[in-house]
Every structure is written in structure tokens, then in C-alpha cells.
């Protein structure tokens, strides 16, 4: 029901993701049993997780056998882009409690804009205006208390 031809579909079919899931499911089954299953009248803390993780094991095992199709091609430059985007977002999370919101937010916006192939000029303009707008919305209008951070120069 997609526009894939049978060949393309077969090319994108893979088993590693279901296999990974299957491993996770097995770990969850073991961990659930260790939690204690109780009995039918008094199910223990592990009973429900066991049912759910057996569900994971069965369905993923089925997918390991039949394979699953990736809906689209992925090329390496895509993954590199996404990696950089995730890294810039992780940087934001690390810096936020240290130096407050404005600088990390501006950096993250610049990074994402550049990853979209926008010019430095537009990226930095968006970063500055966007950060000011977010500061106004979140801090001044919604009253969210964002960390100022011990390293920030006197806060915002």
C-alpha cells in the first residue's frame, strides 16, 4: 500500500530493530520475574510487567521472523545531521542549569537553523529574536522560573 516496489521493500526490510526489541523484552521478562509474581488472588509487583514484557517478546519475535520494512531511505548525511541536532540539544540541557536559558537557547537555535541549511545571518537573527520572545513568553507571561545558573553574569 505504499509506492514501494517489491524490490525496494525487500531492501528496506530488516531484522535488527525487532531483534534489539526482543533482547529488551527478554531482559524485562527476567527482571519482572525477579520482582515477584505473587499468585492469582494476590498478584505481585512483577505480574503485570511480566504480562506486558511477554507481549513484547512474542510480538518482536514474530517481527524477527517476518522482518519489518523501514518506511524510507536513510542516508548517512541525514544521520549526521540528526546526531548534531541531538548533540546541540544535549548541550542545551547541560548548560541550562549552569548559565541560564538565553545563551544555550540561542546556541541551540543557531545550530538547528544551520542544520537546515539556512545562512548564518538568518540563523543568528532567529536565535536572538527567538530567545527574547521565549524569555518574554515563558518568564514574563507564563511565570516559569527558569534556572539563572551560578555561572551567569547576574542572570538575565
Amino acid at each position: 500500500m505504499t509506492s514501494l516496489t517489491a524490490e525496494e521493500g525487500a531492501e528496506r526490510s530488516h531484522r535488527w530493530a525487532p531483534l534489539l526489541l526482543l533482547c529488551g523484552g527478554v531482559v524485562a521478562v527476567v527482571a519482572s520475574v525477579r520482582l515477584g509474581l505473587g499468585d492469582v488472588t494476590q498478584p505481585g509487583p512483577g505480574a503485570w510487567p511480566l504480562l506486558a514484557s511477554v507481549g513484547v517478546v512474542l510480538t518482536s519475535a514474530w517481527l524477527v521472523v517476518t522482518g519489518i520494512e523501514a518506511p524510507e531511505e536513510t542516508d548517512r548525511s541525514d544521520l549526521a545531521h540528526v546526531g548534531l541536532a541531538v548533540a546541540s540539544t544535549a548541550g542545551f540541557v547541560v548548560l541550562l542549569p549552569l548559565i541560564g536559558m538565553p545563551v544555550p537557547a540561542a546556541l541551540m537555535i543557531t545550530a538547528w537553523m544551520r542544520l537546515f541549511g539556512e545562512t548564518w545571518r538568518l540563523a543568528m537573527l532567529t536565535a536572538v529574536l527567538g530567545t527574547v520572545a521565549l524569555q518574554v513568553v515563558f518568564v514574563d507571561l507564563l511565570g516559569v522560573s527558569l534556572p539563572v545558573g551560578p555561572l551567569a553574569p547576574g542572570g538575565w
Binding site: L21, A52, I68, P71, P97, W112, T126, T131, L134, L142
Partner: protein, 514 residues
């Protein structure tokens, strides 16, 4: 017929602040409907934290507005760019875009707006009639009935709204496992916390949803150009001619009914409703060969149905506490955060929420009709905004929004982790919808299942032998059979639809996340 309920709703809606939030909701919905790639699920996930400080009724009124507002907005890009703004508008690309190429973009948009409006009103009327009956019936539900219904709901939703049933079930099972992270609700012992105190309260629902739907979707926009060609087809006059209106009377009437009924079922809502309506209109037509080549009925029916379906899908949530699709799962999450568990008692305990949402849909649809007939050109301008700016700002909004809930940096790492997982899932062929649906329901399901066993003294047949749960199961089996047959027909229809090879993304999106 007792109209005091709907009067409470009208009263709730007509307060200045709620009117403002209906307007905000439908405006946001329209805008994100227009932007390809950013659907109602992602947007509602992004805005969840902002509803935290609102009154519960106001919060749900706004989120509902976003959902059905996006049903209107999604039409615009489907017709003008051959790019569905959100999943439920995919069907509209078939005939809407062809109409636009023939210089009839205006009437295509016009009839979609009129159909959506009528479907919306019909759905509200249905809600007023059916919802209280269903809530009354559901009052007799105990934990066994809830357990059976919720599990069946998850399974059916996984079947109807996904490309691969097994993959959707796998994700639903993962959702159930993730929901058990934290303290056991009955005995209090820690589960899957890896010794971390921060995990003792479980994974925060908003952080998980915003990671999978919000950040995951934003990361996905980086490697996929869904920006279209940028060539927007001129619109011209919007009002359909008298002949066209006459042609669409039947499709709009049938679309209202199909949309309303399918919205009630698990896995229902806008997307399934619009596909089914298209199938019905094509089958009923004396000239089915016109479909796919600019038949106005192929726009009118589905657009009516998707709006009617998006609204009636509130019934299962408001009366049974069961969200039939991921968007409603997010709205359930928003209510749970506010300390309100929707269910059969909602109509008694919180009539302002129950009736307020329903009445707000009346107001919302009137606003949307105005936005879509005279003001539609303003929204078309949105297509000029660069995607990069929207996405970059949305990332910061996501992170700040999640932080604002618990003032917790740990939650930000949860978002990042689930964002990466959400992105990966889309790449390898899993969908996040069933996971989030099961994750939300898991927190309610486990206590219900355990209470059922306590009640019955360990007798597992409690789930099938009680008169209500037994007949629910029988009814559900019937619904399942009917839905499976209908889904097969839909899939068959999808298989022989005209596919423009230059637009592979539009075809793949048909079956994508709802």
C-alpha cells in the same frame, strides 16, 4: 431530553477566557494543520505543559480546538500543494489537488470548509444525544469491564491505525512495560528504577510524549524535505457553485454519519473516517472513474467525515475514560496531570469539563468557518514561513515546556532520550502512537486488572462471565470483525489509488502516525 447539561456547557464556553482559548486553540490548529510535517499530535504534545496552569475545562477546550482546527487547516496544503498538512487530509490530496490543477482550488477549499462545518455540527448533536447515555451505561462498569475494554481498545487501535499490526502491538506492549517504571501502585515496591530515585515516580508522561511525538518529529523534519515545491496554486473565488453544493449534499450527509460513528471506535478519529468516507462515495458514485481526477464529492465527503470523527472521538474519552487514538491519549494525559480521571462520573463530577468541551465545539466550528471562507488567503501566507525557523523555535519550546512542569533537568534528558527513540522508531518502521496510547492507559489498566482479580478471588473468568463484561466482549468481537473487514476494504482502496510517482511522501504518509 434534558438540556440543562448543554446549558452548563454553553455557560462555561461563553466566559471571556474560555472564548479566548477556543479561539487560540482553533487558530493554532489551523496554523499547524497548514504546516506540513507538524500534525496535531506533535503540537498537542508541545503545548501540554502550557495547559498545566490553566483551569482543566479551559485546557481541554483549547486542546480540542487544536485537534479539530487542524482538520480544517490540513485541507489547505492538500489542495494547493499536494502535501497533506496532517494525516487525516491525505485523502483530500486525491481529488482536491486535481481540482486545484483545473483552476477549482477555491471551491475545493470552500466545500471542505462547509462540509467540515456541517460534519462538526452533526457531531456535536450526536455528542449531546449519545454521550450522556454512554456515560450512564458505563456507570455500571467495574474494574473487570474497564480492563477488558481498555485492552481491546489498545489492540483494535493498533490494528486499525497502523501499517503493521505486529509492530503496533509490539509498541503497545512496550508502552505497557514503560508505564510500570516507578513505584508499584499497590505494594509500593520500586520497579525498573535501576536504583534511581528520580525514576521512583515513574517516567513523566509529558516528557515521554514530547520526546516521542515532539522532539522525535522535529528531528525527522531535519532529514526529510516536506516543504513542497513552494508553488502555491492561486485560489480564486472560494464559494462553490449551486450545482457543486447540490452534488455534495449526499457526501456531506453520509460523511457526517460515517465520521461520527467511526470516531467512536478505537483507532478511529479523523484519519480512518476520511478514508472510509472516500471509499463509500467512490462506491456509491455512478461515475466512479471521476474520482482521483477532481471529483468534488471526493473532497466534500472525507473532509466532513474527518472533522465529525475528530469530534466524536471525544465520547469514549469523556464517558469511558478510554482514549481511542493518540491525540485523545494526550488529552487524557493533560486531564490526569490536572488530577482528573475522566470516566462515567465526569458528567456528574465535572459537568463544566464534559459539557464545556462539547459546547466549545459549536463555537469553535463557527470560528473555523469564518477563518476558512473569507480569511483562507491569510492562512495560505503561512506557507511562506521557513520551516527551519518554526522547527528551531519549537525545539526550545519543547525543552522549556517540559522543564516548567517539574523544574526538573532529569525530565529534559528523558525528552532527549525518547526523542532519539521516536526518531529511530520512525526510521526503522515502528510508530510511536500505540506506545503512547498504551503508556497512558497502562497506569490505569494495571490497578484495574489487579483489583478485578482481588474482587474475584483470583478467578480469571471474571473478565468474561460478568454480564456486562461478557456482553462487552461479544460486542467488541462484533465491532472487531466489522472493523477488520472495513480496514481490509480501505487497504484495498489504498492499493489501487492513483499514485503520483513524483510524490512518494504523500502516499507513505497516508498510513502514518495518527
Amino acid at each position: 431530553m434534558d438540556f440543562s447539561g448543554i446549558l452548563v456547557g454553553v455557560e462555561t464556553t461563553l466566559t471571556p477566557s474560555n472564548l479566548l482559548f477556543v479561539l487560540i486553540g482553533v487558530l493554532v490548529g489551523m496554523v499547524i494543520g497548514v504546516i506540513p510535517g507538524l500534525g496535531p499530535t506533535a503540537t498537542i504534545a508541545l503545548l501540554l505543559p502550557l495547559t498545566y496552569g490553566l483551569d482543566p475545562a479551559t485546557a481541554v477546550i483549547m486542546l480540542a480546538g487544536i485537534y479539530y482546527g487542524s482538520m480544517y487547516g490540513g485541507t489547505i496544503t492538500s489542495v494547493l500543494l499536494h502535501l497533506p498538512g496532517e494525516a487525516a487530509s491525505v485523502v483530500t490530496t486525491f481529488d482536491g489537488y486535481q481540482m486545484a490543477k483545473q483552476g477549482r482550488a477555491g471551491p475545493a477549499l470552500g466545500i471542505a470548509a462547509i462540509g467540515s462545518f456541517i460534519g462538526g455540527l452533526a457531531s456535536v448533536a450526536g455528542l449531546v444525544l449519545v454521550a450522556p447515555l454512554m456515560a450512564g451505561f458505563a456507570l455500571r462498569f467495574g474494574p473487570p469491564e474497564f480492563t477488558v475494554l481498555a485492552l481491546l481498545g489498545i489492540v483494535l487501535a493498533a490494528y486499525l491505525a497502523s501499517r503493521r499490526f505486529a509492530a503496533a502491538l509490539a509498541m503497545a506492549a512496550c508502552g505497557l512495560v514503560l508505564a510500570t517504571v516507578g513505584q508499584d501502585s499497590i505494594e509500593g515496591s520500586p520497579r525498573f528504577t535501576f536504583g534511581s530515585l528520580k525514576l521512583l515516580n515513574g517516567l513523566d508522561f509529558v516528557a515521554v510524549a514530547m520526546g516521542l511525538f515532539g522532539l522525535g518529529e522535529l528531528l525527522h523534519t531535519l532529514d526529510r524535505s516536506r516543504r513542497g515545491t513552494g508553488e502555491v496554486i492561486p485560489v480564486g473565488h472560494v464559494m462553490p457553485s449551486r450545482d457543486e453544493l447540490r452534488q455534495c449534499r449526499g457526501p456531506i450527509a453520509r460523511g457526517s454519519v460515517i465520521g461520527f460513528v467511526l470516531g467512536l471506535l478505537p483507532g478511529g478519529g479523523g484519519m480512518v473516517a476520511s478514508l472510509s468516507s472516500y471509499a463509500v462515495e467512490k462506491r456509491r458514485s455512478r461515475t466512479p472513474e471521476r474520482f482521483g481526477k477532481g471529483a468534488i464529492e471526493g473532497v466534500a465527503g472525507p473532509e466532513t467525515a474527518n472533522n465529525a470523527g475528530s469530534q466524536s472521538s471525544f465520547i469514549p474519552l469523556l464517558t469511558l475514560g478510554l482514549p481511542p487514538n493518540p491525540v485523545l491519549a494526550l488529552i487524557l494525559g493533560a486531564l490526569l496531570i490536572q488530577g482528573i480521571t475522566p470516566g462515567p462520573r465526569l458528567i456528574e463530577d465535572h459537568p463544566d469539563i464534559f459539557w464545556g468541551v462539547i459546547a466549545s465545539m459549536l463555537v469553535g466550528n463557527v470560528i473555523l468557518l469564518a477563518l476558512n471562507l473569507p480569511l483562507v488567503r491569510v492562512f495560505i501566507r503561512i506557507l511562506d514561513i521557513r520551516v527551519a525557523i518554526l522547527v528551531a523555535l519549537a525545539v526550545v519550546v519543547t525543552m522549556l515546556g517540559v522543564f516548567s512542569i517539574n523544574n526538573s533537568i532529569f525530565d529534559l534528558w528523558v525528552v532527549l532520550a525518547f526523542g532519539l527513540v521516536g526518531y529511530g522508531m520512525r526510521k526503522v518502521g515502528f510508530e510511536p502512537g500505540p506506545l503512547v496510547l498504551a503508556f497512558v492507559l497502562g497506569a490505569l489498566l494495571e490497578p484495574a486488572a489487579r483489583q478485578s482479580l482481588l474482587l474475584s478471588g483470583g478467578d480469571l473468568t471474571v473478565f468474561v462471565t460478568r454480564p456486562i463484561s461478557g456482553s462487552m466482549l461479544a460486542l467488541a468481537a462484533l465491532v472487531a470483525i466489522v472493523s477488520v473487514v472495513a480496514a481490509r476494504r480501505r487497504r484495498a482502496l489504498l492499493a489501487d489509488l492513483p499514485v503520483d510517482e513524483s510524490e512518494p511522501s504523500a502516499v507513505e504518509d497516508k498510513e502514518e502516525a495518527r
